[in-house]
Symmetry: D2
Subunit: 216 residues, 4 copies
């Protein structure tokens, strides 16, 4: 596919460029804080940058009837309305988290939240010692998936890319669900799945779990 | 509830007697290899013994229109036909495994077996050093739930009641699902859930996952 | 060996009685809050009860020149002086924790505390939901062994007998040391090791790590 | 320090160059299959290449009275004699494994092998699916450290850099020692420690555990 990349010079941009290139996809347009460059017509636009970039991202989608995979966090409700509006014209995938495994875990826990509702629950998340926020956003998202709050223990050590563990216990059994990030390229792989989904989906608004369930 | 217990003198029998007693249920009939004793009319019959006991178990159900919770393994297809036939008269719950947590894990993995189908998979199970069969029946049941075979590593150490771990990995992430048995009374607790379910269910044939999903 | 047991009716007393009996040792004297009973001369006295019992415990040791295995916590410095004094007459083993595995872990970490001093460290301990103190005394003892404090995360779930995990990381590696209690009889097994050690040791004061290192 | 690097173009060479550069050390000589280049006099030579390179490595050490850090595997007994001979002139560190954490774990287990000798033991090691040998050389080295063989379970999944776990159990307790490689640069960091040690050590033959114990 021919894709445009908004946020080309960021870390996520670099990983997307590398993975999409290795998968045979062609980067035909780049957009960044300092402007943009184009050498073709994109079928899809990927934006993992900042809210301030959204307006130009949507303009590109509209101009080329290009699908959109959006991973920007911190969008306002007006922003989200504009994104929803765009999904009446093209396929739009939006998620705050493109991690494949962690989303599968969230889906499983959400589906079983009622059956697990009388199990006691705590979480542990381990990240590198530069991470400031605690608990991690992903730990909070796991609580959302389970529909309840619980103690979350934040371990900060060395250079760990990120582990999340959910403990659930009744009086005789302990269930432990752990997600370990091995490579930080996990997110760009999710973006690739989303792009491959969107390019052949009908227009409409999808989240990343729709992508994983292949609900086009 | 007033219950009959087939296999009263076995280990599972002792745990059921203890847990059901603590939950306020009344043991009104016991059956064992050496005969039986009765001091009331059972509303439900629990049988976690051997195939040879099935005939008398079904007779008691029929005589008292009592529900049945059956955990006997090694039943023949004729046996199973007789059990199915009984479910036209009374509620019957049958399962080879009444562990609550392990069944929840199997249900989750079964539901997500397709989404997880391109993840590489291995299992590890840890049990006490007296356990002869390897891999454990539960490890095989987990493979069934996932719809595919995989290497299963059997660790035999000390006095461990039983851990089962499913590893699933793609190139960037590792998902680990672990079930740990803390007390061997886990199974009797499942039997209690099944009995409480059956006593108020309509006649019919149920498995333990129906109990957990409360599908009466 | 012929042993006296102070704190006969407590939980630890019951486990000691059971394990020592199975190992062929003979209980010849019991002491409890309500008094005592004697049917022989003890070679060794075990006391896992309360500070208030210490005086009579030491009297029995002196009267019969019996060795002492003492596990009482909360002793005053006067109490400890009296215990030390007793060790001039008979072998005395004193420890606040008779867990074999956890003591081995503490010894290992203590020996390597300097080599590990530039590794970042955190701990996690998991116990049943009735446990009130946090972090556990054992977590604090692990910190002592390592000669430094660190964050300790206390997970309280179900009926877990007790796990302790020490995480140590540098920028490229993670070391994880975990001790899991499988049966609460772990402590009585340590008491048995200590008694078998003391019965053949020379008079003197020993801790449980001397027992494990067999330093008589 | 000014260092020579034999095996400059290999993967380990690249990681050493990167880490040593970041630590302020100066690469003054490179040697490779295709020859060498020099722009200064080395104080120390690092060789993590092949047995065939050893002769020229030793020549450089002799010529410049340079210390040696050697990580080549597959050396013959004649090779090792030549290395030992060299250690009469300069400090020589030799090890088949420069992983810091895994060596600390081996040292700990070796020191406690006797105390742990009546614990049952098994191992699990997890690596990426390209790894052919099983069990890993490190698992075998852990067995050596403990002085006995045990079942070793080899899990091969995705892109895992490498986990090693030693399970030790008695009837009441489970000890679990796990080493996880987070970044494959772990080995070059061990090479840096060894070089910093050797540069200030007296002439002699050292292994990597001497480096970790700072026994100069």
């Amino acid at each position: 596919m021919k894709y445009a990349l908004v946020g080309y010079t960021g870390r996520m941009g670099a990983e997307i460029t590398s993975l999409f290139g290795a998968s045979g996809h062609e980067l035909v347009m780049t957009v960044d804080e300092n402007g943009g460059a184009s050498r073709g017509v994109p079928q899809i636009v990927l934006d993992f940058s900042r809210p301030s970039a959204l307006e130009s991202t949507l303009r590109i989608c509209r101009e080329h009837t290009a699908a959109l995979v959006l991973g920007t966090t911190g969008l306002s409700s007006e922003d989200m309305s504009a994104v929803r509006e765009m999904s009446r014209l093209v396929p739009v995938v939006y998620s705050a988290n493109y991690g494949v495994g962690i989303n599968i875990l969230m889906m499983m826990l959400s589906d079983y939240s009622e059956i697990l509702s009388d199990w006691e629950m705590e979480m542990e998340e381990m990240h590198h010692n530069k991470k400031i926020d605690a608990p991690s956003g992903t730990a909070l998202a796991l609580m959302d998936a389970l529909g309840r709050k619980c103690p979350a223990h934040s371990v900060r050590l060395g250079n760990l890319p990120g582990d999340h563990t959910v403990y659930l216990a009744n009086s005789d059994e302990l269930l432990t669900f752990t997600h370990r990030t091995i490579n930080r390229s996990a997110l760009s792989r999710g973006a690739l799945l989303a792009a491959e989904f969107a390019i052949s989906a009908g227009k409409g608004y999808y989240n990343f779990q729709d992508v994983l369930r292949k609900r086009k």
